[in-house]
């Protein structure tokens, strides 16, 4: 029976997605290794009967246009993220055959994390790694795999160990991980190597099809354009130089030992019917007790980190939630857990809240002077301002605002701990705005205060703040 070597049917017959040049030929330069590997992958998909359920994940790089050529499912992922995208495709479509196809810049520079962690999870995908030791598409810059002494546009004097580090050997690194099933490095230097590459590609895809786990095929490929060589010279250079740095061979192969479907990983899509179960788990322990809202509260609470500013916001928001209103709480703070600046925005509204931020508050709590100065001009006319009078020196906007200067920290200290100064402020807010009755708020506090040993002090602090406003 006749044997015919010809363009595999898992390529498109015409590359209609190509925007420039012939619809029959690839966009690759003469002598580029990508075409060889594309051809052998396409042939393997056809021969193994996998083409119909295959998904090709393209990287950023010269092979970004994989979807021009492969008559399969196609994704083009963000730079370096092909392995992460492939993980998602495989887990949500366990019967698909998922390949990520990546160059050295994509896989071993920007995508290092995705590469390692995908291998470490043993995802049942196949990764094709085209190593040509250079950034081809962007014009021949140094790649992680560029060899010592190799010139590139960013290493015009040649790569050095001191300035740029050594070339990264990805197969060797990944082979240290327990999960991967098959890791091999092959080349395109001559016919023998090409046929070994063909074999490795088929084996890797077969391992995936049998559910035997992660397979990784590194292919040393020539970049005649980036290397500034004629195609035959580039192949010779690959043989004479690259192979010494990146030895060919099988670095790991447990495919005979693992059972089929051992590495099957399936993540089911989010089950909307379980939504209520999830929400129940996050549900507030507060029971709804509607209270009419006299006016919307748009609050800005500000001070030092550690003064309970964010907690004050959470408390008020939860009171509002219990009362049946729309609420939002939006924190803003520096990287310091203590001592930095902190503020939060709280909205309690009758109608839906468009944005959780508060640009023009009608309630401002300032627990240090910088906060007064930062926010006083933003408070709407007639808005309430609460200052800790033991810490703040005052506001310049007293004539247009309803200012309450209250020694909150001192009052809190008097009931047991300065930590509850924020709840003194809560009492003051409720009293001044007339929004929530004391018993209502205190019942809420009994549920939401996490540190029960501090509960009584919180309740006393609330009363102190309330009384200060009502009775001075």
């Amino acid at each position: 029976m006749a044997k015919v070597f010809e363009k595999p049917t898992s390529f498109y017959s015409n590359f209609e997605r190509k925007t420039a040049g012939s619809k029959k030929s690839t966009h690759y330069c003469p002598g580029c290794g990508h075409g060889n590997v594309h051809k052998m992958i396409a042939e393997a998909l056809e021969d193994l009967g996998l083409a119909e359920r295959s998904v090709f994940v393209s990287p950023v790089g010269c092979s970004v246009f994989g979807y021009y050529y492969f008559n399969s499912g196609n994704f083009q992922s963000a730079h370096g993220r092909a392995a992460a995208v492939a993980t998602a495709v495989k887990r949500t479509n366990p019967d698909s055959i998922v390949m990520s196809y990546q160059g050295d810049g994509d896989l071993a520079a920007i995508g290092t994390a995705e590469t390692i962690h995908t291998a470490n999870r043993g995802e049942n995908i196949t990764v094709f790694f085209i190593n040509n030791a250079i950034y081809g598409m962007t014009g021949g810059q140094m790649a992680p795999t560029t060899m010592i002494g190799q010139r590139s546009t960013t290493t015009p004097g040649g790569r050095t160990e001191v300035d740029h580090g050594n070339p990264i050997k990805v197969c060797e690194m990944l082979a240290t991980l327990p999960a991967p099933t098959f890791i091999t490095r092959v080349g395109l230097g001559n016919s023998k190597q090409i046929m070994q590459t063909r074999k490795a590609i088929r084996k890797a895809l077969k391992i995936q099809a049998e559910g035997k786990g992660y397979s990784f095929v590194e292919i040393l490929a020539p970049c005649p354009t980036g290397w500034k060589m004629d195609p035959p010279d580039a192949r010779d250079h690959l043989l004479s130089t690259m192979e010494d740095i990146f030895p060919l061979g099988v670095y790991k192969d447990t495919s005979e030992d693992v059972t089929e479907d051992h590495w099957k990983r399936v993540s089911l899509p989010f089950d909307v019917n379980k939504r209520h179960e999830y929400l129940q788990a996050m549900k507030t322990p507060l029971d709804l007790e509607p209270v009419e809202l006299k006016q919307d509260l748009n609050c800005k609470f500000a001070g030092f980190g550690g003064q309970g500013i964010l907690t004050l916001g959470l408390f008020l928001a939860q009171v509002g939630m219990k009362a049946g209103h729309q609420v939002s709480w939006f924190p803003a703070y520096g990287p310091e857990m203590r001592g930095g600046t902190a503020n939060c925005s709280v909205n309690i509204c009758k109608d839906r809240i468009g944005a959780p931020t508060v640009e023009h508050p009608n309630v401002l709590v300032a627990m240090n002077q910088p906060s007064v100065e930062m926010f006083e001009d933003e408070v709407v006319d007639g808005g309430w301002v609460f200052l800790d009078s033991g810490i703040c020196t005052g506001t310049a906007s007293a004539d247009r605002l309803k200012v309450t200067a209250i020694p909150a920290a001192e009052m809190a200290d008097a009931v047991g701990t300065p930590k509850v100064a924020n709840v003194v402020m809560l009492g003051a807010i409720c009293a001044a705005t007339g929004t929530f009755e004391p018993d209502y708020v205190k019942d809420t506090l009994r549920v939401i205060v996490r540190k029960k040993e501090l509960l009584e002090m919180n309740l006393a602090a609330f009363d102190a703040g309330w009384e200060f406003v009502k009775n001075g």
Partner: protein
């Protein structure tokens, strides 16, 4: 009486980019480069017409999916 069928390779001269890798790998050296330019300004490879064994090495060495076809009857 039937004519004996011989293996042959064929180059689509319009798709060939003239990289010459097929010349390098051909064990019988039966592929050559044309003096003429194709429409993409490459000198395409061509089969000299005799001696192909149908081994397929040129097919795998060729980076273009559709440029080379090898038939081994």
């Amino acid at each position: 009486m039937t004519t004996e069928l011989k293996p042959y390779m064929d180059v689509d001269s319009e798709l060939c980019k003239g990289c010459q890798l097929c010349l390098d790998v051909c064990p019988k050296s039966v592929i050559a480069i044309s003096d003429k330019l194709n429409s993409s300004s490459y000198h395409p490879a061509y089969y000299i017409g005799d001696g192909c064994t149908g081994c397929g090495l040129c097919f795998y060495a060729c980076p273009e999916p559709g440029a080379i076809r090898v038939v081994k009857p």
